[in-house]
Amino acid sequence: MIRVSPTPFDPQAETAAFAAGHTEAGALASFVGVCRSETGAVTALHLDHYPGFTESEIARIDAEARARFALIDTLVIHRCGMVRPGEPIVLAATLAAHRKPALQAVDFLMDYLKTGAPFWKREIGPDGERWIEPRADDYEAREQWKEK
């Protein structure tokens, strides 16, 4: 399941609901990216997105993960709008029969979301605002999957 949420979500409650009822899944892996306060330098993060397009691009990344790894199910929830320090920005969770595909798929999803999910991040702090783009090592992390 894929969701872009304009309001805060509870990653553990979402993960519990996702895992419930999959009795054949031996492995549940998950990652939660959280908005950091950078010891006060960040008062909020604003995520612009492109409704419709953003969801369909995340769906493409998700489909690629399902094609590459032996997964039972996947869950991606991504915030949009104004996010406060301590609030989750993204949750990627996978269910699989075995641990390696579950963990690798979460790693893959995060590398691809980081450089491919259509969001535009603006960091808002007491000293002003700045736009955030992926770092060089984010692009490198994504490239590594192409050799595999």
Partner: protein, 85 residues
């Protein structure tokens, strides 16, 4: 003349002075012509839209460079580099 709907995402909205704009078009035009029309009298926006890192989507379909065409009623979005996760 009917309008195309222009969307400026991320930092492009700041440069354009708004997230959305209506662009009157007499008929189908190349993306190059549309970019030129949007940048007329606004060199900062013209430079920003010309950057190769900025992708263009027509009706939510990413175009190769500035090769596509669009017309009245279409939605044309300009997307700077994304940053998810």
């Amino acid at each position: 003349m009917a309008d195309a709907r222009i969307l400026f995402l991320g930092r492009l909205a700041e440069i354009a002075g708004g997230r959305e704009r209506a662009l009157p078009l007499g008929g189908p035009a190349s993306l190059g012509e549309i970019v030129e029309a949007l940048g007329r009298g606004d060199p900062e926006l013209a430079a920003a839209l010309a950057a190769p890192s900025v992708r263009v989507a027509v009706n939510q379909q990413i175009q190769r460079g500035r090769e596509g065409r669009a017309g009245p009623g279409d939605e044309i979005a300009f997307l700077p580099p994304v940053s998810g996760g």
